[in-house]
Symmetry: C2
């Protein structure tokens, strides 16, 4: 419920069309799975320019009012949810193209442009914007930058941040700061750009970004291989690297995930299948052809079946299926608690097995799937969204997952970020001085602590304040 | 000249073999061209472990003594030179392999390992560590990380920082901090890793790094094309991108550079040549072959000659020649003042012409060469090292270069960093709030300002304090 007084006051710095009076509920929740996270805001604004974002931030800073920046709201960590009032700053109206020079492989877009639009603009000009997080139709490039979003093709192409060469960001107490630009190298200052990337709206509000693009690969061929056991699948994944094959993507699904999603798989799934690996070859036609052959060789060893479509329609079908896996898993019980832990690649099998063991200890069906090549699991516990006991157990199980990731030399988050859901968990993986630096960086950018309060907190102590 | 008292005191925290008593002069200068930058230290230490680095830093912090971290000393910006006393911390003894898992494409090495050794270890295992800054035999990986070093292959593969997945760094007041590791994704905390990369030893002392590697390309084929005018060469460079050719490297040399270095070019240089472009095709044998053909097509248009060796020996000869260009340029007058400005690719021709015009205004012969695809020039003024008047003019000319880079939407440094030489120049390209954040980040890491004092200063005000 928005506060009429606050809306009136914001009217002094924003035009009426930038203040949302009806339908604010759409700006209060996010996709946090199985946890139904919805917040409360005093006002929702949709600035139409970076200047307007600066005006709102300055006004909020002057009046000690918290701000919550918000992209497409497709995050899984509660990062865009206003926990307790303040002003939600939605970026959707700030969605223009500032510059597009396809012949020079670069584009400058505003933060509210959807990821799908960025990718489409590139594609229509023979180029590729490689980051491919889920929900590309809703998620916005600003949110992708704020979370340093990944996706299946991160294995070859890196996360969103790797493609950002410049940022325009509004920082407290209300300044528009620009770093980098349409240049491809810059070592003049400390890397403020990378510091803002992945900061989840707690250091500043991204309003525009210069992005690098590359020529689109001429061909892409996926190869899906089924195995009868996790350890055989994991061995196959390691063989891809061991044989020097630079796959564009290297994904996996475990037995329970396959059971949940297998009925819609675009080919027959063998009954003994307990693990599937999906690798992709890309490049020029001949390069992709050759790499596909190599992937087939390496993945067929020990596989019970292989599905390797070569037609655009059947290739698209396979990836569409992969994109639907998360929803199919959710459908098992209506909800899920899923964490995006990362482990060194050689610990992937152990992390997959341990996910099941942790679930068993808490009486929860468990499964995992994700970006195998990057050691990035979506370790998942299936819960009914109204089952309070199961949700409580899942929260405990998630804590064990975080401990597991850190014990194996990994990270509590590979792509979803800390948001509200993983607050305090960074303390498991960083020492005291690093945590102190984390807090001091926050203070340097946001001395009043008004930017996305309660999010990306490194320690539970910070969360209690 | 070292101070005997300080050496004695350091003996309380370091073993005798870690304190240099003879030959300290080798640790006081760097390659800063034409400016003969040499400093003065109170002591030089060569710690044998990260713990020893932490002990030295803690001791210095307790006693308010400045520290200057030092790698191979091959920088061009005075970044590793002790300006006025303190303790030089050389990393050369910290040069071990912590872990090497070639089948998983990763290695963890200590900071003092030379870049050439890292590259050789990778190569011997069928892998590539792509960053290839000059002076690889002397420069150390820790220094490459501290400067986020680039090189010809940065165009396709990115700078050193792109290959760092984890860092061990000693920060004030004397803690060993570890972030990341052998994992390929991590969004749990603010990106401290990227903040330390390129910080030139002013935030912490890198002691070890986890590096990503990739399978070595099967083949690499360079194509060198000569043009009669700068604008024709620049048009050819843009055509490489416009035709969607992902060259591994895309270099250029202008007329004067070619004149200085051309006599040792491994083929005939046409008399009308005023510009040369060197592009490289890499990949599988067939991919590199195909890309070479495409590069030949695109670069031959308007060229007066093309040299495209295909034998390993003649290919190596061409790159060896390219590596020697900087020395050949220096040899013209015995010294040079060279700045590594960056501009958007479509402003490259303008920056090349302006470099000459700036030189002419200051009565200095000028030239440029560098990483064309990245818009990264080495804009150079030729001076005799003992010609004080010319050096003074060159300093003024360099100021104009920095202004030019910023006016064209670029950066004052693409790979050498700020060091001491470019102190205060960041203020041209960043606004007040960004500069303030730069200073606050420094304060958060190094509240006493003892780490590499006088280096990477963003403003002239800071330089005066």
């Amino acid at each position: 419920v928005a506060s009429a007084a606050l809306e009136r006051d914001l009217g002094s710095v924003l035009p009426p069309e930038s203040i949302v009076l009806e339908g604010t509920a759409a700006y209060l929740g996010d996709e946090t799975e199985g946890r139904g996270l919805h917040g409360r805001a005093d006002a929702v604004v949709l600035p139409g320019s970076a200047d307007e974002v600066a005006h709102v931030l300055a006004w909020c800073y002057e009046h000690d009012v918290p701000l919550v920046p918000r992209g497409g709201g497709t995050g899984f960590a509660g990062g865009a949810v206003p926990l307790d009032g303040g002003v939600v700053v939605g970026l959707e109206r700030l969605a223009g193209i500032r510059a597009f020079e396809p012949l020079l492989w670069r584009i400058c877009v505003e933060a509210g442009m959807t990821t799908a639009t960025v990718r489409r603009l590139a594609r229509e000009n023979g180029l590729l914007f490689p980051p491919d997080p889920g929900a590309a139709e809703q998620s916005q490039i600003g949110g992708n930058i704020a979370t340093n979003a990944g996706g299946p093709h991160t294995f070859k192409y890196g996360t969103t941040g790797s493609w950002v060469t410049g940022l325009e960001v509004v920082v407290p107490p209300g300044e528009i700061v620009s770093v980098g630009g349409s240049i491809r190298k810059d070592v003049a200052g400390y890397d403020l750009k990378s510091l803002v990337v992945g900061s989840e709206g707690t250091l500043g509000i991204v309003t525009a970004a210069w992005l690098r693009l590359i020529p689109a690969p001429e061909a892409t061929f996926p190869v899906a291989a089924f195995y009868a056991a996790t350890h055989e699948g994991c061995a196959a994944i390691e063989r891809v690297l061991g044989n020097g094959l630079v796959a564009a993507a290297l994904e996996y699904l475990d037995r329970t995930t396959l059971k949940a999603a297998g009925s819609s798989f675009p080919a027959a799934v063998p009954s003994e299948a307990a693990f599937v690996v999906i690798a992709e070859a890309d490049g020029s036609r001949s390069e992709a052809d050759g790499l596909r052959d190599d992937l087939l060789d390496v993945l067929a060893d020990g596989a019970v079946a292989v599905h390797a479509p070569t037609e655009p329609s059947t290739i698209a079908e396979l990836w569409r299926w992969r994109e639907g896996v998360s929803i199919a898993v959710t459908a098992q019980r209506g909800g899920k608690v899923s964490e995006d832990i990362v482990v060194p690649l050689d610990r992937l099998g152990e992390a997959i097995e341990e996910t099941l063991a942790i679930g068993a200890r808490h009486g929860l069906p468990a499964c995992s799937f994700g970006h195998a090549g990057d050691g990035n699991l979506h370790s998942t516990f299936l819960v009914a969204p109204d089952d309070e006991d199961a949700l409580a157990e899942a929260a405990l199980a998630a804590e064990e997952l975080f401990a597991l990731a850190v014990r194996l030399g990994g990270s509590i988050s590979g792509e979803h970020g800390v948001g509200w859901v993983k607050r305090g968990q960074l303390a498991r993986q960083w020492g005291p001085r690093a945590l102190e630096l984390h807090a001091e960086i926050k203070r340097a950018f946001d001395p009043k602590g008004l930017l996305n309060p309660g999010k990306k907190l490194a320690t539970h102590e910070a969360a209690r304040i």
